[in-house]
Amino acid sequence: MSGDLEQPGPAQEQTSKIRIQFITRDTDHELPAEASAPILVATKFRRYALSTLINTLLDTPTPVPFEFLILGQFLRTSIEDFLTANGISAETTLTVEYVRALIPPLHVASFEHDSWVSAIDVLSGSSPASIWTNNSPGVPSGQEKILSGSDDGLLRIWNMSSEVEAISSVSHNNHITNAKFLSPTRVVSASFDRTIRLWKYESMPDFGPTSTLTPSVELYGHKASVDSIAVHAPSSRLLSASQDHTVGIWSSKKTDAPPAPQSLLPSSSNKRRKLNPNPNSVSQRGSLALMTGHTASVTSVSFAPNDPTVAYSSSLDHTLRTWDLATRTLVDTRTTAHALSCLTPLQDLGLVATGTDARSIILIDPRASATAVSALTLRGHTGTVWALSTDPSSAYGLASGALDSTVRIWDVRAARPGSGGIGAPEVECVYTIERESGRGRKKPVRGDEVKVFGIVWDGEVGVVSAGSDKRVQVNRSPQGVRDS
């Protein structure tokens, strides 16, 4: 019993208070030492009043909206109602974590295609491709580009006015699964046609807003669909994940790449196969290595954020594997209960997020010393989680695209104990982005939803997603709120 508490009684009810210890993991918004002790707060307070309070304590020049986590749950009611609902005594000191609020991004634009779109990437001032080139020539605000790859085998580059600036001069022989900017002038794509292709992206200032996207190198080596690629321009390395169970290592430099294996070239197979129109005699090259270990289709691959000589891969064989790229060997295998469909490392947390065919996202500690495979489980999707992307402005934020018509935004700090007190803690999503293409239409039956195959969360452009509604959809938080 604390003597500081006011006596309960009808007269005092309106000013009932609770002692709160505010904490945060947002390093930009830590309370000054003199304000870090527990504070008495009226229990009638809701999120907005608490946010105002934190802004006062922080003395922020412009208000930053905050959300509040208590026992892994976002505060959606008054503190009083939260205490009642969770059976918490008002006499305890309550630990409340404040996090910068994620503002639901609004629909900004949709780019229509003729076929399903799986591949998506963004070139902006803060995207990896421009950072690698020290932002030279640089991408001014409003001049960002969006790269899409679709089932017609074509790549397109869009400007922020929803115009196609460039379309690839040749097409892949089957649907494009993944595409990335390697630099502001280079693009790489992967396809079900088993190839990875490097492209030159050149603007043609003399011809207005049009640009060209022409092939430079075709990479052969995989014996089945290439489902995912990862790029690291400073080391000129590409990684690939294939349905042939291997993880490929490739050089993005033509001169460093070994010759292509003759047996895999289209010209060596039968005549009926459409020969690739090869007007510029595009170079054909092979892989530096195809690493074996997975026992089923590899769905995704990524460089370790802090060390480009380490890679992670996810597979339908239920494993997340760690590879040493210098020695080209398998370092570690983490086995889960489910087929894994995608992955993205969470740099500051030392975890890897993987999407599953069991409609969940699992955060895995890839270190060999980790005792538990799964650190956190994110639940809410109702379809296979196909793509993941990290929040450019928070170490704890994650966006996921699934075969259930939705993109979901998560804050992994909102973690509650697992069901029945066993298993990894569980996280519920902060909000859901629906497909604009479904607006005003009847809800599709289970299994017939829009499939979101690609997602990129860019600091400038926002959450960009692509899917079976043949659209790229751009959602962005209202200006000035998130980055105030």
Partner: protein
Amino acid sequence: NIDPEALLPKLPSPDELRPFPTVCSVLFKGHKGGVRSVAIDPSGLFLASGGDDGAVMIWELRSGRQLYTVNIADEPVNVVKWRPSKDTMVLSAAAGEAIYLLAPFSIMSPEVENLSREVLDAGWGYAATSSTNGTSSVQKEPAAKWSRPESKLLDQGVLVKISVRAPVKAIDWHRRGDYFSTVSPKGQSSAVAIHTLSKHLTQLPFRRLKGLAQTAQFHPSKPIFFVATQHTIRSYDLSRQELIKILQPGARWISSFDVHPGGDNLIVGSYDRRLLWHDLDLSTRPYKTLRYHKKAIRAVKYHHGGLPLFADASDDGTVQIFHGKVVEDMMENATIVPLKVLKGHKVTDKSLGVFDVDWHPREPWCVSAGADGTCRLWC
């Protein structure tokens, strides 16, 4: 007063028996008219379907993407089955009185394409050089004619056409991928045929079958062959060419059966709505009879990738999932628990529901083929 229920062994609850499929993950739309048959390829990545529209389609299983379509006939494709091999990619499909062997090369690597073409083309000329089929020369016409399909089909990878005497309703491949059986219920003495791919040879080993043949299957590991007629399932020793056993499921009209991968148990589905489990060690009568469907059962299938699951498909529009754990101990019976009723397929005006069901080779996922024109992946 003892409650008889209390004396029964307690069944585990479905929750304890996860994983098993619970929801529709992907809907496959493309066929015009009902889908008669579905099959997941040995890699687990591709789904083949055959429909009333005469089309054979191949889909990427997890994404639902349509990868390949060939209009193979002007009549329904009644059955599609993959050849059990990971080096080749060969699909068999039956429409009317013909069986087609396909290498859908647009979705495979040059290497797999070459191996697939080789395995399909190796038998050309065998029949011509060995003149008769090796057995008696009483046979007036060959049991089947192996030929090249028209160029329109050839261009799409349909490399072999086998014409038999009556419409084919069932195909089953021997595990090694050289033999496959077909069943033509109206074929009388040629109702059950066994085809040798490497020789392009068709034999009719069951000329005096009692009853109308419905479907047939190779034993998963022994040289034993099962043939179902309307009322019974006979097992034959293929090497000794003799009858081993006659199973009496007690069904009025058998539609389908599947042999457990262990080889000692078998499930039977019937048009009179019954699902029957036979323990081949125990009796010629079923060990268990399950009546959960309101309409005919058209297909039954065990999981063949190590999970203790089986499924059936019915004209009532549902697929039902069961736990079926076979114990090694000969004296102990299998534990059977109904797990889930999968609803979604629409029943048509003609009271047709789900035609077929197949399992993923590893995962607890199944696919179904509906009279409503859709296939569904359940995860």
